[in-house]
Amino acid sequence: MDFKSYLVRRLIAMVVTFWGILTLVFGISRIIPGNPAAVIAGAKATEEQIQSIREQYGLNDPLSEQYVDFMYNLIVNQEIGQSVATQRPVVQELTARFPATFELTTGAVVFALVIGIPLGIGSAIYKDESLDHGSRFMAISGVSVPQFWMAILAQLLFYSYLGWLPSGGRFPQNLVKPPEATGMMLVDSALALRLDAFLASLEHLALPVIVLSLGTLAQTTRITRSSMIETLNQDYIEWSRAHGFKSKVILIRHALRNAVMPVITAVGLSYGLLLGGSVVIEIVFNIRGIGLFLYNAVLATDFNGILGVTVIFAMGYLLVNFFVDVLHTYIDPEVEVSG
């Protein structure tokens, strides 16, 4: 099958899934026991407010009409409704907070790759030695540790006891912020050529990124290790060894090329883990991203807010995995992806 028709098919599959997600979200928003209007209006709403919301959202209409309205508003108007927690449109809130979460999760992916791949190579070369055992232990701990707890411990150690890193936030208050271009502090500082701001943002980003990446780091390490071992055991590697290709560098480069795709796939799949984890990380480190918005929405029973975050996180996860699949097929056309 040629690449273009694959692309189209995969794109259609993604759109269908996204439509399914929206339907699911609609379903969830209408299974609210009792009175959805009361939930949308928030815990402290008066009877009149609930009534007006009932009108405004068309909750008196038949379900099929509500469904069409819901879809129309979301897709055509890109509108989810007002956030009860902040009294601003949910979409506006999400747009404003997206860069912080994007910076955090991307940082975690980068960290996981930069540390995980060399560690995986090391474990494969020194298989069954202490480095390998250590990295296995670290990998299993990485997926077992509650991230919210690890974040608190990290804060305790690096902020309270050692005083090396800030306790939270994204930027020091006593420093002039770089002009906003992308909303990502690190990128904005770099664009403004401000080294002090860059370092300050990096300091604030360090702990959240590292704690968030632990699970992905664990997976990256293990997958690099196993595909390295598999490749190193293959005939042509044996053959080249037998013919005197002693240089480990060449072997590793060979093996690494085969490890790239499994690693990218794993990162794509663990992106959901990262988005979920970003919620608790943003809470503990007080980062004003989408996760912290979700937390406040939960506290205020701001149902529109919760729905908005569900939609945007699902969309992000879908897109990442779409790109991973497409990349996969592009690099290795023999791979047929069921979609």
């Binding site: 599959a13 269908v16 899934t17 996204f18 399914g20 997600i21 339907t23 699911l24 969830i28 928003s29 299974i31 609210i32 026991p33 939930v39 298989k127 296995r136 232990f137 299993i140 701990s141 997926v143 077992s144 540790v145 509650p146 991230q147 919210f148 707890w149 608190i152 411990l153 804060q155 305790l156 902020y159 309270s160 196993s226 071992i229 992106y271 959901g272 883990l273 988005l275 979920g276 984890g277 919620v279 608790v280 809470i283 503990v284 979700l294 937390y295 929405a297 939960v298 506290l299 029973t301 149902f303 919760i306 729905l307 975050v309 569900t310 996180f313 699902a314 996860y317 879908l318 995995n321």
Partner: protein
């Protein structure tokens, strides 16, 4: 099979008759013996299960599970009387952590059990029957697995209202599609085997083939996944309570305790640290067992 040949069975010793099973157990024991991490995992889970089951007996202050207040003993550090210190209301953190084990284990068992109950028949049907039914089932699971696993429960539990029961419901809703997908792909492989075609030829019913022949032969990876998911579910449930969607005071749920302890950091670190440590131990235990189980049950996945 153990029944074997009836005539020969009388002369053969027990050991000979059950040679297959004995060898399998031996091999499992051998692999287990080599794999100290798996034994550590079993020990960790057993430890938490045992302290959870005997919490009524060993907790020094079982009454502290409720909303008791001892303001004169507020926020005391770890001591002989209070090994894990006391919390903001003067309750013994150690006693509460022990009772918390019951909650986490119950959540894990109920959620994974229910998700398997929903997922197994659907996975079997999708894999074996195929066609439109498979299409439909798979498209529905596609939707569920496209929402990050912490976020879907937030939406569901957010809609139903915060409570531990709703969190469990939300987790079941989140988890079943993964078992459907896993089982389906296994079944699709197994059903090509000759013996399945033989049974089909003998006229066995579809249901019988699915549950008697396909399920036992494709359950290995499901078992491994379910074990690891026990840990996963505990983690997500604790995270949801931490966010404020799950348990509410005075329930001694670990995630909630970590969240409550946060306002007393860093001076009174024990309040958050010990409950979190127990989550870590239990989840790690399940993951280590899952890892070991995979080695024992599925020789293909052994890394070397």
């Amino acid at each position: 099979m153990a029944t074997g040949d009836a005539a020969a069975g009388e002369t053969e010793s027990f050991r000979e008759r059950h040679r297959g099973i004995i060898e399998a157990v031996r091999e499992a024991a051998y692999i287990l013996g080599k794999n100290r991490l798996t034994i550590a995992g079993i020990a960790m889970v057993l430890f938490v299960v045992l302290v959870g089951l005997s919490a009524e007996l060993i907790a020094p202050y079982p009454e502290h599970v409720g909303s008791v207040t001892n303001l004169d003993q507020r926020l005391e550090g770890p001591s002989a009387a209070h090994p894990f210190g006391t919390d903001g209301l003067g309750r013994d953190v150690f006693s509460r952590v022990l009772f918390g084990a019951q909650i986490s284990i119950r959540i894990a068992v109920l959620v994974v059990g229910s998700a398997l109950t929903i997922g197994i028949p659907l996975g079997l049907a999708a894999g074996y029957v195929g066609g439109r039914l498979e299409m439909l089932i798979m498209r529905v699971t596609d939707v569920f697995v496209s929402v990050p696993r912490l976020i879907l429960p937030v939406a569901v539990a957010g809609a139903l209202g915060p409570s531990l029961r709703n969190v469990m419901l939300a987790l079941i809703v989140t988890w079943w599609p993964w078992y459907v997908r896993l089982l389906r792909s296994e079944v699709k492989e197994v059903k090509e085997a000759e013996y399945v075609q033989a049974v089909e030829g003998l006229g066995a019913s579809k249901v019988r083939i699915m549950f008697r022949h396909l399920l036992p032969n494709s359950i290995t990876s499901l078992l491994v996944q379910a074990t690891m998911d026990m840990g996963w579910v505990i983690l997500v449930a604790a995270s949801l309570s931490f966010i404020g969607i799950g348990a509410s005071s005075p329930t001694p749920e670990w995630g909630l305790m970590v969240a409550n302890g946060r306002e007393f950091m860093p001076a009174h670190w024990w309040y958050s640290v010990f409950p979190g440590l127990f989550i870590f131990i239990l989840v790690m235990g399940f993951n280590l067992i899952g890892d070991g189980l995979r080695d024992i049950l599925d020789p293909r996945s052994r890394m070397d």
